[in-house]
């Protein structure tokens, strides 16, 4: 469990479970996730696709439709308010104003038949009750901030008249329009090419620092996570298997899966002959989760304990914990690496 | 035998009719859903007439028109003569009288002081001559129907019209100046021309044409009609209802005040309905099976014994009850009641047919059975009748292969090229109240609608009947003709269908006519 270091977390999640009742049985997409998000900080959530990253975000945003979905947790508190049991009307008031989200594919995330201006000012009018005039000005200001040239006369344009990168900027403008305290970016840069990725990452860092917005950055790309996040949580098969400060985690990986991830990511400062070691096998079936460590079948560093009892959470450093029996210290690297 | 279901509806109808009656009497006749225009102060003077069939055609007496248009023309124009159905005679009308100085000359005295509508002057003999001339100039259908015997014609003074005939013609009053007696105003026709005249005809009858929009024709009262105080109605709105049962339901709902041609099935029920008056008069028409004797020589029906067998196999009473629901009279000859020369409806063939005799005749003819194509037009009750008849004749081995055609194809095969059909079932409305109009055209070998049947003796009898004008001798001739047809069976007659009209209880002044295309609306009025 990541304990907050003194500051009051803006968002804290305790034991979040999300299940889907499908014809083939109950899919445990998220199997007990807990974390805290500190104000102004960026928490990365990393993992393969299907590991429950996006479902976790959608569960927090209360966007999972039930049935077939079913979201349970001990507590989800946003700015001190428990948003677990609130009704749909209250949830709707929070979405977009207190907590906002940016999605992966900018090409499809904007409504093709509505103008950019309309999609920008909607949230403003809904949550802040701004008049059309005021909303327009705010929208132009937002577009300027996210770096869209000639914002004033682009309001009337349609999404298909914007490039991928520009659209993602608009998405960010929309998300930050009501100055939310938490921004969730679900694979926000995955669909963009590398140069644009870097611009978007800088944009998010700059804006969140100015506005003091806390960010949950969901990605499967360790490089991006390293660039933007303060701390990281590694998810596998619906559970957080390791979390801690980003530098700590990269240099002192303490879970077989984290090690495997790092092993399969090329690094600039690698010497040539280091061969990448892919993780073989397939992610486990989420139908009937096994009490043992879910990564066991694919883990290279499994020890006897792994096969007998489920790994308990243990702290490796003051804010860095893992759920793995193996002692992976031999694989740690010097911090200056 | 009205089932309780219909009693229920009757009760409901009467209450609704009662409300409507009260409302209209007090001039506030806008009942929900009833189409009656608000009544006038001094009682209603408007009638809505539910017409059968589709839209009404042209309304000029000098251009071929269909039966529906005939009804309207009959109320826009008054003819030279008028049939008296009760006495079965021809009465003077626009013609005050006519004399027959010699067998080939007829002089007709025109009534004086009759005005044309819309100020086109007075009706004179010149108009009559002009009308005949238009028929001959435009080679209209009447030349062959009503004026085949006319040699020449001229006016003698302002009010006398003289006609010279090629040969003596006893039926001159009934046909030449009867069916052919609708006169048009020379001044109006010359001014408008033939086509425009047919769109806004100018007549001398009780009603003027006000408008024709879509399938609705509005007739307005002719202010200077030659019979003072008539007609009682200011407006007659004629609306076409193609579907018979819907037409009747519109009457029951009060959307229509008067209709003709209801579905025969509903006649007994509506007759029992106290809010409506039903007239079901024996009509001057008949259903008949027609054999194409001018072609298909190899077909068995060319043997008259087979035809007699078919006539014996027909249960005419079943046709009357199952198809016409009692609204018809069985008959086996072509002269219906009310015609000169009528003796009995059924002279030779029993009402329920005689299957044994039919089989015997088939054996005599040495015919075990055969298949024949029988065509029928698009009249739904005739199609049902053909299915019934087919079942009857199948009992003596004859298989009627039914071919129901649309009216265009049907008439084309029957009227115009005579080769391509074997047998058919049709009904025919007789145009003039004289046996000549029915018997001659169908049975004379040169008759316009002959089926290839030629019997010199019958031809001679027909020509004699046409030539004499003494009714008794003409009747005698027609009796012999009928006896011969009963023997030859070139046509097998089934029934004379009744002509039915139904109107709301509040109306009076109707005079039921046995002819489909005559509807006298000059004396119709709403009861006070």
């Amino acid at each position: 469990m990541i304990e907050s270091a003194g500051m009051e977390p803006v968002l804290s999640v305790r034991n979040l479970h999300t299940r889907f009742h499908t014809e083939d049985g109950i899919v445990h997409a998220v199997g007990g996730v807990s974390f805290d998000l500190l104000p102004g900080k960026v928490l990365g959530i990393v993992g393969e696709s299907g590991s429950g990253k996006s479902v976790t975000a959608l569960s927090i945003m209360k966007l999972v439709v039930s049935p077939p979905g079913e979201v349970t947790a001990d507590a989800i508190t946003l700015e001190g308010e428990d948003i677990l049991g609130i009704d749909e009307v209250r949830a709707r008031r929070i979405r977009g104003s207190r907590i906002a989200m940016v999605f992966q594919d900018p090409m499809k995330s904007l409504n093709p038949v509505l103008t950019i201006g309309r999609q920008l000012t909607e949230a403003l009018r809904e949550h802040l009750g701004l008049s059309d005039r005021a909303a327009r000005d705010r929208a132009i200001e937002l577009l300027d901030r996210v770096g869209i040239p000639m914002a004033r006369d682009r309001l009337g344009d349609y999404p298909h008249q914007f490039s991928g990168g520009m659209r993602q900027r608009v998405m960010i403008a929309i998300a930050l329009s009501c100055n939310p305290s938490v921004l969730i970016a679900d694979e926000a840069t995955t669909a963009l090419d590398v140069t644009i990725q870097a611009q978007i990452i800088d944009l998010v860092k700059r804006l969140t620092e100015d506005l003091g917005t806390a960010v949950i950055w969901i990605s499967h790309d360790l490089g991006v996570v390293a660039g933007i996040c303060d701390s990281v949580a590694v998810m596998y098969a619906g559970r957080i298997v390791e979390s801690g400060p980003v530098r700590d985690l990269f240099h002192r990986p303490s879970h077989g899966y984290t090690l495997g991830l790092l092993g399969s990511t090329p690094r600039l400062d690698d010497d040539e002959e280091r061969r990448l070691q892919p993780i073989d096998g397939l992610p486990p079936s989420l139908l009937d989760p096994v009490p043992l460590c879910p990564f066991l079948p694919r883990c290279r560093h499994a020890v006897g304990a792994c096969r007998e009892k489920p790994p308990a959470w243990r702290d490796v450093a003051d804010v860095h914990g893992t759920r793995c029996w193996a002692d992976l210290t031999p694989y740690w690297r010097a911090t200056n690496g | 035998m009205a089932t309780n279901e219909s009693k229920l509806s009757t009760a409901r109808v009467s209450r609704r009719a009662f409300n409507k009656g009260v409302a209209s009497a007090t001039g506030a006749g806008l009942a929900l859903g009833s189409g009656i225009a608000p009544a006038f102060a001094q009682g209603k003077r408007e009638l809505i007439y539910g017409m059968w069939g589709g839209a009404v055609g042209n309304l000029s007496p000098v251009i071929r028109h269909d039966n529906q248009a005939g009804i309207l023309i009959y109320n826009i124009f008054d003819g030279l003569v008028r049939p008296n159905y009760a006495k079965g005679t021809i009465e003077p009308w626009m013609a005050e009288g006519w004399t027959n100085p010699d067998p080939l000359t007829w002089r007709v005295k025109i009534r004086e002081g009759v005005k044309w509508q819309k100020g086109y002057g007075e009706l004179t003999a010149a108009d009559v001559a002009y009308t005949f001339q238009v028929h001959f100039d435009t080679k209209s259908w009447q030349v062959n129907t009503s004026y085949p015997q006319v040699e020449s014609f001229k006016t003698d003074g302002k009010y006398v019209f003289e006609v010279k005939l090629k040969q003596p013609f006893g039926a001159f009053p009934g046909i030449t100046i009867g069916y052919g007696g609708m006169i048009i105003p020379e001044s109006a026709h010359r001014e408008m021309g033939n086509d425009t005249f047919s769109l806004n005809p100018v007549g001398n009858g009780p009603y003027m044409l006000e408008s024709v929009i879509g399938s609705e024709v509005i007739l307005a009262k002719n202010p200077d009609y030659w019979r003072p105080g008539l007609p009682h109605m200011d407006r007659v709105v004629v609306r076409s209802f193609p579907d018979a049962s819907v037409r009747l339901q519109s009457l029951l709902k009060g959307e229509v005040d008067f209709l003709t041609h209801p579905d025969n099935k509903d006649v007994p029920e509506v007759a029992a309905n106290p809010d409506f008056v039903t007239h079901s008069t024996p009509g001057w028409n008949w259903d008949y099976q027609h054999f194409n004797l001018s072609a298909n020589q190899d077909m068995a029906y060319h043997d008259k014994l087979v035809r007699q067998a078919i006539s014996y196999a027909i249960d005419r009473e079943a046709i009357k009850n199952e198809i016409y629901h009692g609204q018809a009279t069985e008959t086996d000859n072509s002269i219906p009641p009310g015609f000169l020369g009528h003796r009995e409806s059924l002279l030779k063939y029993p009402k329920n047919g005689d299957l044994a005799k039919a089989k015997e005749l088939m054996a005599q003819a040495g015919v075990a059975g055969y298949e024949v194509e029988v065509m029928c037009s698009d009249k739904d009750w005739l199609r049902r009748e053909l299915e019934l008849v087919a079942a009857m004749v199948s009992q003596i081995g004859i298989n009627y292969k039914i071919r129901n055609l649309d009216i265009g194809t049907f008439n084309n095969l029957w009227i115009n090229n005579h080769e391509d059909f074997q047998q058919m079932l049709e009904d025919i409305t007789i145009v003039a109240p004289d046996p000549h109009a029915t018997v001659f055209w169908f049975l004379h070998s040169e008759g316009s609608v002959s089926s290839g049947y030629s019997n010199s003796e019958v031809d001679e009898l027909l020509e004699n009947a046409m030539a004499t004008s003494d009714p008794a001798t003409r009747a005698g001739y027609y009796h012999k003709v009928v006896d011969q047809t009963l023997e030859d069976c070139s046509l097998i007659y089934h029934v004379n269908a009744n002509f039915t009209r139904v109107h709301s209880k509040g109306l009076e002044g109707f005079e039921p006519a046995p002819q489909e295309y005559i509807e006298r609306m000059d004396e119709i009025r709403w009861k006070a």
Binding site: A100 | K139, S198, L199, D243, V246
Partner: protein
């Protein structure tokens, strides 16, 4: 600008299509056995009576010449006159086209009134009993012949309950009376005629709504915290409407062609019945004149449908 170019190209093509249509109808009707004049003149026609009328309507000339004469007249705006009714075709058209359009509009309004909510509801609560109920009703509407439905409607609503009149469209009473007198005769025919369209439109809107609701931008709209009604009405519907409106426009073009049975039952002076009587009586000028107008109407509505498509969907600029 290319929308106008596309429009121009489509409009230029209309005459070509019309010529093909009218030529085919011309040949089919002319080839049907039965000569209109003989049919009209009936039994006791004298040969020269027939000849007189044939000359009047150019029927004595060879077929291609007749077509060219007719085409020439049409270009000059003269549709000739009916052989059977002896009335100018254009006059008959004038009266009946309005009635047919009124009936088509009434039926379309009814269909939209029922199918749009049904389609949306069936899409939102898909695969629940709401969806099955709505789809079941729509398919029912699809599978009952409109004349059978008309008869049942008349029997129940006009005869037994006496809520609506049976006839009266295009009649003096409806013109003369108040609004209700004008509207009421349209209700039952509109329901009878519109029910089939309800099924088509409902199913189409349901499937296009389901597609749209699955799109990412709907999820974005929800993430923005917009009211569900706004998400459905603005975001989803505007997208789902694009194929829907096109289909509605095309079906409106069909409307006149399939009204015959309803006109027959409700005694409506529309175009269908007039053309049917004309075909049966081989009244060539009427058949050609009316089919020409029906074809023009169909093509125009098709083009409107395409233009609507560009107007509604900003991504497509032809």
């Amino acid at each position: 600008m290319n929308t106008l170019a596309y429009l121009a190209r489509r409009i230029v093509q209309i005459p070509v299509v019309l010529i093909v249509t009218t030529l085919t109808i011309f040949i089919v009707v002319r080839a049907t056995p039965g000569d209109p004049v003989e049919l009209m003149l009936g039994m006791q026609t004298s040969p020269d009576a027939v000849q007189a009328v044939r000359e009047k309507f150019h029927l004595d000339k060879p077929l291609y010449q007749q077509y060219l004469i007719w085409l020439g007249d049409v270009i000059r705006g003269d549709l000739g006159s009916s052989i059977r009714l002896n009335r100018p075709v254009s006059q008959m058209l004038g009266e009946r086209l309005i009635v047919s359009l009124q009936l088509a509009t009434a039926a379309m309004l009814f269909a939209l009134l029922i199918s749009i909510p049904l389609g949306i509801v069936a899409a939102i609560w898909r695969n629940t009993w709401v969806d099955y109920g709505a789809t079941g009703y729509m398919v029912l509407g699809f599978s009952i012949p409109n004349f059978a439905l008309a008869l049942i409607l008349i029997y129940v609503f006009a005869v037994e309950l006496d809520w609506f009149p049976i006839s009266g469209i295009g009649s003096s009473t409806s013109r003369g009376g108040g609004v209700w007198a004008f509207v009421s005769p349209f209700i039952l025919p509109a329901v009878a005629l519109g029910t089939v369209q309800t099924a088509y439109f409902g199913r189409l809107l349901r499937s296009s709504m389901i597609d749209v609701l699955g799109q990412d931008y709907i999820r974005t709209a929800h993430a923005k915290g917009l009211k569900p009604a706004v998400v459905i009405a603005v975001h989803a519907l505007k997208n789902a409407m694009i194929p829907f409106v096109t289909m509605v426009a095309i079906h409106f073009g069909y409307m006149i062609g399939i009204q015959i049975t309803i006109e027959y039952i409700f005694a409506i002076p529309g175009m269908g019945l007039a053309v049917l009587t004309a075909v049966v009586n081989r009244d060539f000028p009427v058949v050609q004149g009316f089919t020409l107008v029906i074809a023009i109407f169909f093509l125009v509505t098709n083009i409107i449908a395409d233009v609507l498509y560009t107007f509604l969907d900003p991504r497509i600029r032809y």
